[in-house]
């Protein structure tokens, strides 16, 4: 059976997971392990007037209680946001100070004021309760719009009016003019609900300081261990990079929330040095809800103008983005370069303007969550398109077709230059698979049973890979967004791939091995993928933005190119032939058209014995490469959702969900389909079930799985997933990325379907039975 590109190879990593042998951070236990528990604020906004540690310190087994003044006193730097956004008036963004342990003020429920280090986890938690923090409670604000209002409590001294930045993109005057001349203008106010990412593995850290070597080791639940090491060293001054090893072993899901370097990792490292003990912290779910970065939380108003033929003439958006109490690592980029730049959707729109105000509130910091900005953009555009079609009495798919971009490359007015796509093909495929033609009959049949049936579309486009580095640098990014790889051919011919892409469910150990095995014509079992350890892997920017294929695998291809070049030279030398005549196939390196050949393993052995290499050639067979992409990639597709609503109860069932995606080249369709399934499930979760709720005082009231509704098996349908691909012209494998598409494309399809069913367009996410029922009542 083929294991090459396009083969449904079963995952190499599965065996350890299905037998309980996965090794996650919380499974790590150092000798003489000590445990950390954080003393967290129950108040959304308060001054710290004092901390009384005496009762906790008096407990047997408590090693130390450490606070923010000690942390900053030791020179541990503030947590930073790594992407500088400039306001439209030219001013820099207002980044408030964020210390891993608060010193003067706490700014959200969960903000840590101190940490207890104790002999057992249970004892640390009990002792943390005994630490008395004297708070002077201040007024708090949790809603972004209210935080901008006059007289709102100010959260950071250097952010007057809680405004972080006021940014714009596109031409406002031209867009206003286009809207004023439009034959029809659709206007909507759209909220993108706040979500909690909820990877099933709670975050965890095990930090160990070796005093003799002045060296730190950190096991952590990270999507990007090298970025963690870089930031911990360069910005937080925890340890110099060569004295800090970061290991992200098996990681139980990330969805963005494990990109960031959180206060807990910093504190554990520092506390390990302070106490000269290995310090372990593992979040419980309650703690995760108040410490893991949340996602989304936009409030937007939008106007879309059309000419008499239904062609979009202008699109104007005003967005308020809730950032929570501090600016998390990539927070600033999410509602700007990952959101407003996608507002052209799949459509040829000449005039777009978007204004974004980023706002502090007394809530958990908000950052990238699966899709990061692109779901917000897609939801906005696709709700507008469906609504406009209804208002103008047009078929929603025909209105989309009237505006599709069909010539590539296509420069949008909001930075992005789409490189390839066939949006008609995706829409055609989805409509066919969803049997749109048969929908009226199904609707009629449902009506006989007293049910309301609806159908909704979403034609999404997103931008993945995130680069090129020079371009993102010019837009304010603090890092480059390339990826690196090393290909090590061992003397026996087996291969290790060292990659900076981290796998936490994506199946890299299989897909990456597939392209290597195919390229060098060796069994896939002879390839292993090494990742997640800064002592093993040269460097890496990590996994997010659906970049592991388009960027991570491209780096592997580049390194394989170098290996192949050397293999050809060695083989040509040994076999006394021209390099150009060397071919690699069937496990051998051959001279084309002859019976002269050497086994793949013999080439490896030759390289390492070095008895007979070409003059001046270095021994060994190991090459590395850094790949910096030429452009974003643009996955796109069409999703169709069909629902049935019970008008008596508002209970909505998704009876059919059809996806047609364009991901470019697909290495392993089984894994890609799995990514789409999971993405759609999270999108349906956002559309129908999930919402982080704060009360007006900044108290989180959805702090467990009893109140925050996670999608469960019975809430979800089987998904009908198809592909209609165009090849990405900008990377060697032609890949676009598939990790986020489902979460981006699905929410508007669901809401468009439900609003179609109930005949009312006034419905916000999450469309709970109560919300649907209320919308139905209001419409009657």
């Amino acid at each position: 059976m083929s294991t090459g590109i396009g083969a449904r190879v079963k995952r190499k990593e599965d065996k350890r997971f299905i037998t309980g042998k996965g090794k996650y951070t919380d499974d790590v236990r150092s000798e003489n392990q000590a445990y950390a528990a954080f003393v967290r604020s129950p108040h959304a906004h308060a001054k710290i007037k004092g901390i009384d540690k005496s009762a906790a310190l008096a407990m047997e087994g408590v090693i130390d209680v450490l606070d923010g003044h000690q942390l900053t006193g030791d020179g541990i730097g503030n947590i930073i946001c790594g992407w500088a956004i400039t306001s439209k008036d030219g001013s820099a963004m207002n980044m408030g100070a964020w210390s891993a342990l608060a010193t003067e003020k706490v700014r959200y429920v969960g903000d840590a004021a101190a940490v207890v280090i104790a002999e057992t986890q249970a004892l640390a938690r009990i002792a943390a309760e005994a630490v008395e923090v004297d708070y002077e409670v201040l007024p708090a604000v949790s809603n972004a719009k209210k935080a901008l209002a006059d007289g709102a409590p100010e959260i950071h001294d250097n952010a007057p009016g809680n405004l972080i930045y006021d940014w714009e993109i596109g031409e406002e005057a031209a867009t206003d003019a286009a809207l004023s001349e439009a034959a029809h203008v659709t206007e909507m106010e759209i909220t993108n609900n706040r979500l909690s990412p909820n990877p099933m593995e709670p975050r965890s850290a095990v930090a160990t300081y070796d005093a003799a070597e002045e060296h730190y080791t950190l096991y952590t639940t990270s999507q990007n261990p090298h970025v963690a090491r870089l930031v911990l060293s360069a910005f937080y001054q925890v340890a110099p990079e060569h004295k800090l090893r970061v290991i992200a072993p098996d990681v139980g899901g990330g969805f963005g929330s494990k990109i960031y370097i959180y206060p807990e990792e910093i504190t554990c490292l520092w506390a390990s040095m302070k106490t000269n003990r290995s310090v372990k912290w593992t979040s419980d779910r309650s703690e995760a809800f108040i410490t893991d970065a949340h996602g989304r939380d936009h409030i937007s108003t939008a106007k879309m103008g059309f000419d008499a033929d239904g062609r979009i003439t202008g699109f104007k958006v005003d967005t308020i983005a809730n950032f929570g109490a501090y600016m998390s690592l990539f927070s600033s980029a999410v509602p700007t370069y990952l959101y407003a730049t996608l507002l052209s959707g799949q459509y040829d729109i000449q005039n777009i303007h978007c204004n974004v105000r980023a706002v502090y509130t007394n809530t958990v910091p908000v950052d990238a969550y699966r899709g990061a900005g692109r779901p917000e953009a897609c939801y906005l555009i696709e709700r507008m398109m469906e609504t406009a079609a209804r208002e103008m009495g047009k078929d929603p798919s025909e209105l989309r077709r009237a505006n599709f971009v069909r010539e590539f490359p296509h420069q949008t007015p909001v930075i992005m230059a789409y490189d390839a796509g066939d949006f008609d093909a995706n829409l055609d495929q989805a409509r066919e698979a969803a049997d749109v033609a048969g929908f009226p009959a199904r609707k009629e049949e449902a009506a006989k049973r007293g049910k309301l049936r609806g159908l909704g579309y979403s034609s999404y486009i997103e931008a993945c890979g995130i680069a090129p580095s020079a371009a993102v640098g010019s837009l304010g990014a603090g890092v480059g967004l390339w990826e690196s790889a090393e290909v090590r051919v061992n003397p026996v011919g087996t291969i290790e791939i060292l990659t900076g892409s981290h796998s936490h469910g994506q199946g890299h150990e299989t897909t990456f091995a597939q392209i290597v095995a195919e390229r060098f014509s060796i069994p896939i079992e002879n390839v292993s993928i090494v990742h997640g350890d800064t002592d093993k892997v040269q460097f890496g920017m990590g996994t997010y933005g659906s970049r592991s294929g388009a960027v991570g695998m491209s780096a592997i291809v580049k390194a394989m190119d170098k290996v192949e070049a050397k293999v050809r030279k060695i083989a040509a030398h040994v076999l006394e032939a021209s390099e150009d005549d060397i071919v690699i196939e069937g496990g051998e390196v051959k001279v084309k058209g002859t019976d002269k050949a050497m086994g793949w393993h013999e080439v490896g052995l030759s390289a390492y014995t070095a008895h007979n290499l070409p003059p001046d050639m270095e021994p060994g067979l190991k090459e590395s490469a850094f790949y910096d992409p030429a452009n974003f990639t643009f996955p796109a597709g069409a999703y169709i959702c069909e629902v049935e609503v019970d008008p008596e109860t508002g209970v909505t069932e998704i009876v059919r969900f059809t996806a047609s995606d364009d991901f470019g080249t697909i290495i392993n369709p089984m894994i890609v389909e799995g990514q789409v399934h999971g993405g759609i499930a999270q999108g349906i979760g956002q559309a129908m079930l999930e919402q982080v709720v704060y009360d007006d005082d900044g108290q989180l009231i959805t702090g467990s799985y009893m109140d925050y509704t996670m999608p469960r098996a019975a809430d979800l349908p089987f998904y009908d997933v198809h592909h209609a691909s165009t090849i990405c012209p900008n990377n060697p494998l032609g890949m676009k990325g598939c990790g986020e598409a489902g979460a981006i494309g699905s929410p508007p399809a669901v809401i468009n379907a439900i609003t179609d069913a109930i005949g009312s367009n006034t419905l916000a996410m999450p469309a709970t039975p109560h919300a649907v029922w209320s919308a139905l009542q209001a419409a009657q």
Binding site: I18, G20, D27, M200, G678, A681, S704, Y705, A713
Partner: protein
């Protein structure tokens, strides 16, 4: 402290444990069987499901001290002589796992579900599988392939 004797994955084990020790902590911290995971603190997620005397139990909600003499099977104990359990095999065959964190609980729940339905002579439809998975949360797969895996394993068990 209470001395607890159990049979875990076919082996007799005996340990002194504090009375408040949860079965999940006992397995993970005392026996170092870390395949059983803890994903929440309100007994909703099901990552910690093990079998106690042949029935699926959320080990985060059971006290070790209450299980004197119990037969406990964890994810580490269901493969026999190096041969994967049909449920384990089905999960890999159908790509029913991604990050792997919820997987041990899913598999243990799946085995229990199939056993119960077979014992009762009931038909384990995909709707029934979804209903039975109420107590197990997966954030990666969207459940599609998990349901397919359980369905397939049910036919082979």
């Amino acid at each position: 402290m209470t001395k607890i004797s159990m049979n875990v994955n076919g082996k007799a084990v005996s340990r002194d444990v504090p009375d408040e020790t949860l079965l999940s902590d006992y397995l993970r911290e005392h026996l170092r069987l870390t395949g059983t995971h803890v994903g929440c603190d309100t007994s909703q997620c099901g990552a910690c499901v093990v079998h106690v005397n042949g029935r699926a139990v959320k080990s985060c909600s059971a006290l070790a001290a209450s299980l004197e003499g119990a037969e406990v099977t964890t994810i580490e104990g269901i493969a026999q002589n190096g041969e994967l359990h049909p449920m384990q095999q089905a999960f890999t065959d159908h790509h029913g796992l991604q990050c792997g964190f919820c997987t041990p609980g899913m598999i243990m729940t799946g085995v229990d579900m199939v056993n119960r339905y077979k014992a009762e002579g009931r038909d384990l439809t995909t709707d029934a599988i979804r209903h039975e998975l109420e107590g197990n949360i997966c954030r990666c797969t969207g459940y599609h392939n998990i349901v397919r895996a359980v369905e397939d394993a049910a036919a082979k068990m």
